[in-house]
């Protein structure tokens, strides 16, 4: 690791990254999964972790609840996007992903950028009536090829110490 602090991305490049993250969230909210999958690199690694409540002085402990490559992601999407193959997402959940607090940095690779963002994702189900929030920080690795951006790695760190209303069936 270099001692230098990573250099923040600003200007037009920052706006491009912001636009990519907003668009990607909107595709998930609109359930345009095929268009969303196109934004993943072939070597995507998509992870969601939850935290264990620990003493403030003790080391943090988190555990994975999702850890997928492209094949696993496609399989999850094949399940939740096909009305015959899902109970959790048929009838459809209502979801809204609010993405904010974006910070982006250059990396040692000229075409790769890291981005952290805050995510507030609301989900409600017809069978449960009241909805709830997933709240998370996300660490992404983005790749730029010309004007195209792709997501190469995402780690979603949930702040929820207890997930509400059953198992997570949506992507964050």
């Amino acid at each position: 690791m270099s001692d230098q602090k990573p250099m923040a991305v600003d200007g037009d490049l920052y706006v491009e990254i912001q636009r990519f993250l907003f668009r990607e969230a909107a595709l998930l909210d609109r359930r345009q999964y095929d268009a969303w999958l196109v934004l993943m690199t072939e070597d995507i690694r998509y992870c969601v972790t939850a935290a264990v409540s620990r003493d403030a002085g003790a080391n943090a402990v988190e555990y994975s609840i999702i850890d997928e490559n492209l094949v696993g992601l496609k399989s999850r999407i094949d399940q939740i996007s096909n009305p015959r193959l899902t109970r959790a997402e048929n009838p459809r959940s209502m979801t809204r992903r609010v993405v904010s607090n974006i910070e982006a940095y250059h990396s040692t690779e000229p075409s790769e950028f890291s981005a952290t963002s805050y995510l507030l994702a609301y989900r409600s189900r017809p069978s449960i009536l009241e909805g709830g929030f997933y709240v998370a920080e996300r660490e992404d690795l983005l790749r730029k090829a010309g004007s195209d951006w792709r997501l190469a790695r995402r780690c979603v760190r949930l702040d929820n110490l207890m997930l509400f209303d059953g198992a997570l069936s949506t992507l964050l």
């Binding site: 003493d55 999702i66 399940q79 899902t86 109970r87 069978s127 059953g166 069936s169």
Partner: protein
């Protein structure tokens, strides 16, 4: 003070003869409170896996019935289970989920306890009456703790029967999944934890033997890779498969691969670990594992387990607890286990593939919980409660266990009936109607 709950005279919650169970049993908060008294404060309840607290001072915070408890390992290796509430004014003396402690210092006024629960100091010892007996004011200790193959159980009932007797014949079936190598199994990560708007027994029944939900609830993952690829022969397996019922309400369902598959399909367990099984398991128990596709079962009241195929010669063992919160809500805790001797790579694969299927974002779990919540919601009204749940497919089989079953317990064929579920409810009913 509120009167103790009592079961209504001649309640008809469970009618085994007619295969009916009242919907109240799955939604009522009054029945939930009575369950705490008559089941969870009386019997053995699972608390933690020994490998979650390997070192002196390691602890996890759990619940025994409705009471929060600390499960802590002492410097001599002993495990103590303590009510997590200060003897002074009740604050939790230990508030994280897990960690390591030298002793427990109450953050409210400073009463300090050893890991054994013994009261060391109140910090105002000089103001106490001369006859105050410190030894009488330690943290309340759970009177009975026993460990079976790494599973730590506790009971608030000092007179509960020994754990080995309580588990009885079901131990023969669960041991090949909890301890089948010289070093035994270990948990691979902290438990997944999530809440579900459903009664705890819905989970317990689902695991004790509900083969009928698999092809409808789980049509998604069964149709898609990677599960589809790993389940060749599943649909034609029923003739070799059976349910087991033992005393105390325990039960399990074993699903075997059908004959006639390519030989490699029968390699269900890892090649490199099988020689270790020979060192620990009886020949009959190894035969139990041979060609086994899935075992799923429940230890009464609320501990379940499943071993399922997650890849060629890869099995994930999942231990699962359904913690009651009310008549209509539970918390689920779920651990993934593997043999301690297994390679780091194998453990990582089993962990990842295990929680891909069963866990806080499991592809099986998400559809189960949606339907359990919908059943809970739709049953929790006066009109629906006039119409009990149906367990009718148990009836033609429940009095006809397999006559030539050579292993422990009573076996029932075929596997896709509701015998084990109705037997679970029969035992539940017995507990709930027993005043003593």
């Amino acid at each position: 003070m509120a009167a103790r709950n009592s079961a209504p005279e001649g309640n008809d919650w469970v009618d085994v003869r007619r295969g009916l169970v009242s919907r109240d049993v799955f939604v009522s908060d009054e029945i939930f409170r009575l369950e705490m008294e008559r089941i969870f404060d009386r019997t053995w309840v699972f608390l933690a896996h020994a490998t979650e607290i390997p070192a002196a001072g390691d602890f996890v915070c759990r619940n025994l019935g409705s009471a929060p408890v600390i499960v802590v390992r002492d410097s001599d290796g002993a495990v103590h289970v303590l009510l997590n509430s200060c003897r002074h004014r009740g604050a939790k003396v230990c508030r994280p989920d897990s960690g390591n402690v030298r002793n427990f210092v109450c953050p409210f006024h400073g009463w300090t306890y050893e890991r054994s629960g013994r009261l060391m100091t109140t910090t105002f010892d000089r103001h106490f009456p001369k006859d105050f007996d410190f030894s009488e004011h330690g943290l309340i200790r759970v009177p009975r703790i026993e460990v079976h193959k790494g599973l730590i159980f506790g009971s608030w009932n000092a007179n509960v029967i020994p754990l080995s007797e309580y588990l009885g014949e079901i131990a023969w079936y669960i041991d090949p999944f909890l301890s089948r190598s010289p070093q035994g199994m270990e948990v691979l990560a902290p438990p997944h934890r999530w809440r579900a708007k459903s009664n705890w027994k819905v989970g317990a029944l689902n695991f004790v033997g509900d083969s009928q939900h698999i092809l409808t609830t789980h049509v998604g993952p069964l149709t898609l890779d990677p599960v589809r690829a790993a389940r060749a022969g599943f649909a034609t397996a029923a003739e070799n498969s059976f349910q087991v019922v033992t005393d105390q309400g325990h039960g399990c369902t074993l699903t075997y691969l059908a004959p006639g598959l390519p030989e490699e399909a029968y390699q269900t367990h890892p090649h490199e670990l099988e020689p270790l099984y020979k060192e620990v398991l009886q020949a009959d128990q190894r035969q139990l594992l041979n060609r086994l596709r899935v075992i799923v079962g429940t230890i009464f009241p609320n501990l379940s387990f499943i071993e399922t195929q997650v890849g060629p010669a890869q099995k994930a063992v999942i231990v699962r607890q359904w913690r009651p919160i009310s008549g209509t809500e539970m918390e689920i805790l779920s651990w993934v286990l593997a043999e301690k001797e297994a390679s780091t790579d194998y453990k990582a694969t089993v962990l990842r593939n295990g929680f891909h299927n069963f866990g806080a974002a499991g592809v099986f779990e998400q559809d189960d919980l949606e339907l359990w919540a919908s059943a809970t919601y739709a049953s929790n009204n006066a009109i629906a409660k006039q119409f009990p749940y149906s367990f009718h497919t148990a009836l033609p089989y429940i009095d006809a266990p397999e006559k030539d079953h050579k292993w422990p317990g009573r076996a029932f064929k075929p596997a896709d009936t509701e015998v084990a579920q109705l037997e679970f409810m029969r035992h539940w009913d017995r507990c709930m109607n027993s005043a003593a």
